[in-house]
């Protein structure tokens, strides 16, 4: 559980640091007069409400993946039956495709911010193609492994391989729902500014899922 604890302590440390700044040298019992403009106690402007919502969600997902990795390590050491899965070459290609999806989302985000309708549309199309490509690629990996005899239940390493890759893909598929909304809006010719928020959230989410994937891929390669 060490990895989980490190993740949770980091999340809580950010929270505590922020809280400390809010509560040190504050005298809550002192009332203010009407002539003094009331304090508007907010996070910095870059933390818009949807972004804060997404960040809180990502913190919860971090805990989920940290726990999965902890369980992976725990199970690996607990019985002597672990036989690592040879990482298929296709996984390298999939990783590259996911990087491209992330880049395409980033370009779309910039385009939406700059009001460039055409670039936004092509960026979103590319992001969608790469993301769906990644999902299909992962499905091909599962099929290949299965065909080679690495069945889900035959070894804990296999079980974990399928489990963590599926957990990651499931999060990506959830994100694709948001992508589809943005895509529909763009195709219907909605203003780039209006789609901007969804695209921005998608981009952050994809970057985050790429990061998680790199961690998971590293885990699969190293064990």
């Amino acid at each position: 559980m060490t990895i989980t604890l490190i993740v949770i302590v980091s999340v809580l440390a950010v929270f505590l640091g922020w809280l400390l700044r809010q509560s040190i040298n504050v005298r809550p019992w002192v009332p203010a007069g009407a002539s003094v403009p009331p304090v508007v106690d907010r996070l910095p402007a870059m933390f818009t409400t949807p972004r804060v919502g997404l960040i809180v969600f990502l913190a919860a997902i971090s805990s989920l993946f940290a726990l999965t990795i902890s369980a992976y390590h725990g199970r690996m050491q607990m019985a002597g039956d672990w036989v690592s899965v040879p990482v298929p070459v296709l996984l390298w290609i999939n990783s590259a495709v996911l990087v491209l999806a992330s880049i395409a989302f980033h370009i779309s985000w910039r385009a939406a911010a700059g009001g460039e309708q055409k670039r936004l549309k092509s960026g979103l199309v590319a992001a969608g193609i790469f993301s769906i490509g990644f999902v299909l690629g992962q499905a091909m990996v599962w099929r290949t492994l299965n065909a080679e005899g690495f069945y889900l239940g035959s070894n804990p390493a296999n079980s974990f391989f399928y489990f963590i890759t599926a957990l990651h893909v499931l999060h990506l598929v959830g994100g694709l729902v948001a992508w589809a909304t943005a895509m529909m809006k763009t195709l219907r010719g909605k203003d780039a500014g209006k789609v901007g928020q969804t695209v921005e959230l998608c981009a952050i989410y994809w970057h985050y899922l790429l990061f998680i994937w790199l961690v998971l891929f590293g885990l699969l390669l190293s064990t």
Binding site: P28, A34, V40, T49, V56, G74, R75, L152, S159, F163
Partner: protein, 596 residues
């Protein structure tokens, strides 16, 4: 106390806070069924949680009938008994307490107490309730599938829970795990709302350090839940894999009726680590909102500022943080590395420090207060007593050497029912008596309330106090019947009968409470907008019950903390949060200078 004597002055600069776009309900259906109004969602959560809680209450009566009068009631067989115990535990902890504190009180109070119009993401909030309802329905469905609901204990330990021979090891456990997954997904949607609303939608002037402790409790509990529930989700999915797809995450090699099963090498201990990594924070996910609410109840009804506000906030945060590093104190007898025991016993006992700070501060708030023994105050005092009792027996169980002989006995049952069943539920009741006037505009009936309080408080002590002694006798829990067990003293059987009778009486008292809720809704005394003379924002709304968007045209502006009771020189003994320092009505003074 005369309500509404203070006129809020709001000539503050124009709002720096953007107005929320509120989804307006077009029809009765979108107003009360598919509602996006946090107040309606809160009531939906509350009613659903109460309904499923009643099922768990009936299950507990069935358990008690069997234990008090073994062999008398043929409708309870050994398998059924185990199923009742399992479902009672799971429903009460997750589907009732977690849902009612966060989904119920969280939804109702966060926007109102923070001075917001609604939650940050109303649509997501609505979805959160409907997924919760789905989780409850799936759970209820598990009672009716072949083999019935799971009977493997609420901790769902593999290999037992998914092994043949355990009641409900077929569809029962599958539905339980699916239901939990739904619950967690639904909760995450609600949880995002609670956290983001507190962070982003506080009224002007509502700094973090001016938030009522109720909000602090709910806020911290939500953060913990968002980080801890994933552990249960991972464990539940892996257990489903083991059960349905033949993996060996948790399943060791097993021989069933001399036949070797396919799975091998899995670690039941791994499941226990995951489960309790969620399970222990869960205790505080339920307790922190209770701590927060009780702080406010005590302060309002003792007419005293809360003692050590900042310390109270930091104690909540400290308890929340520490609760993530104590989980294995539930596993002293699991066969884990004994050296861990020392570490976890130490961290467990350290939690007593911030908890004791809270208890002392509550007592110091009461000290020389103008205590009004209203129903919310009675329940708050009941909580204080019960939490202290339950907490003290926790010190016993936190020590490895004491826990080993007491593990899996009725001592444990007595302890956790005191500390995390009775104590929080007393707060739930206190909170309902306190906020019902705001939610409905009417007071709850006092006489019925007193019957409810005294029967519940005294009854629960008759139920749970003796369990400690039964536990020290070495009587194990989760046994259907003790048969000819020589070590079980006759007095234990007598006590068990007494406990069962008390449990039935306490259950009946809850019917008085439910009747009161319904009766007062139509016949209760008119409450006015602020019957308790409280300072927090929810009592300052232009309408009671608060209308859509809570605040009429203008959002409130906050000038002070939530605990300005008995302010020296002020005319009333409370000053609401939205009254500026220079607008407080002063008390008239006699010619000799003394205050009237």
């Amino acid at each position: 106390m005369v309500a509404g004597q203070h006129e809020a002055v709001s000539h503050a600069p124009p709002a720096e806070i953007g107005e929320m776009e509120l989804p307006h309900a077009g029809s009765w259906v979108t107003k009360y069924i598919w509602s996006q109004d946090a107040k309606v969602i809160a009531i939906q959560y509350g009613l659903t949680a109460t309904a499923i809680g009643l099922v768990a209450l009936v299950l507990s009566i069935l358990i008690r009938l069997q234990l008090g009068f073994p062999g008398t009631f043929s409708l309870i067989d050994p398998a059924g008994y185990l199923q009742h115990v399992t479902m009672h535990g799971m429903i009460m902890v997750v589907y009732l307490l977690t849902a009612i504190f966060l989904g119920g009180f969280g939804n109702y109070l966060i926007p109102l107490m923070c001075g917001a119009r609604d939650m940050a993401f109303p649509w997501l909030n609505m979805l959160s309730f409907w997924i919760y309802l789905l989780a409850v329905l799936v759970l209820v469905a598990s009672f009716f599938v072949p083999g019935g609901s799971t009977g493997g204990g609420w901790t769902l330990y593999p290999p037992q829970v998914i092994s043949e021979g355990t009641p409900g090891s077929g569809m029962g456990i599958v539905l339980m795990l699916v239901s939990l997954a739904f619950f967690i997904i639904g909760f995450t949607m609600g949880g995002l709302n609670y956290v983001v609303t507190v962070l982003q939608y506080r009224a002007r002037g509502m700094t973090l350090m001016r938030l009522p402790l109720t909000i602090w409790g709910i806020f911290m509990a939500t953060i913990m839940a968002l980080l801890a529930f994933p552990a249960l989700l991972v464990a539940a999915i892996m257990l489903l894999f083991d059960h349905l797809l033949g993996t060996s995450f948790f399943m060791p090699a097993m021989i069933v009726i001399s036949e070797q099963k396919g799975q091998a090498g899995g670690s039941p201990l791994l499941f226990q680590h995951l489960f309790w990594f969620f399970g222990h924070p869960e205790v505080y996910i339920v307790a922190l909102p209770a701590f927060g609410i009780v702080s406010d109840l005590i302060s309002v009804h003792a007419r005293r500022p809360i003692f050590g506000y900042r310390m109270m906030v930091w104690a909540l945060v400290a308890i929340g943080g520490l609760s993530f590093i104590v989980w294995a104190h539930h596993m002293y007898v699991s066969g884990m590395n004994p050296n861990f025991g020392f570490f976890f016993a130490t961290t467990t006992l350290i939690i007593a420090v911030p908890t004791a700070i809270k208890v002392y501060n509550w007592i110091l708030t009461l000290w020389r207060g103008n205590i009004r023994l209203t129903l919310p105050m009675l329940f708050a005092l009941g909580f204080l007593l019960t939490f202290l009792n339950g907490g003290l027996s926790g010190l016993f169980l936190g020590n490895v050497t004491v826990d080993v002989p007491l593990a899996d006995t009725y001592f444990v049952v007595g302890h956790f029912h005191m500390v995390m069943a009775v104590a929080p539920i007393l707060v739930v009741f206190g909170a309902i008596y306190h906020w019902y006037p705001k939610i409905t505009g009417r007071m709850l009936n006092n006489a019925m309330g007193h019957i409810h309080f005294w029967v519940t408080l005294i009854g629960t002590y008759v139920i749970y106090y003796p369990m400690h002694f039964i536990g020290m006798e070495g009587v194990p829990r989760r046994y259907y019947a003790y048969g000819e067990s020589a070590f079980v003293d006759d007095s234990v059987m007598t006590l068990n009968a007494v406990i069962s009778v008390a449990a039935i009486i306490v259950a009946l008292a809850q019917l008085v409470f439910l009747f009161n809720l319904a009766w007062s809704y139509f016949r209760g005394k008119d409450a006015g907008s602020n019957p308790w003379g409280a300072t927090t924002l929810e009592w300052q709304t232009p309408e009671t019950p608060p209308g859509h968007g809570n605040w009429g045209k203008e959002l409130p502006v906050v000038y002070r903390w939530a605990y300005d009771y008995a302010v020296p020189g002020a005319k009333d003994d409370f000053v609401p949060q939205n009254v500026p320092a220079d607008a407080v009505e002063l008390a008239e003074r006699d010619p000799d200078g003394s205050q009237r």
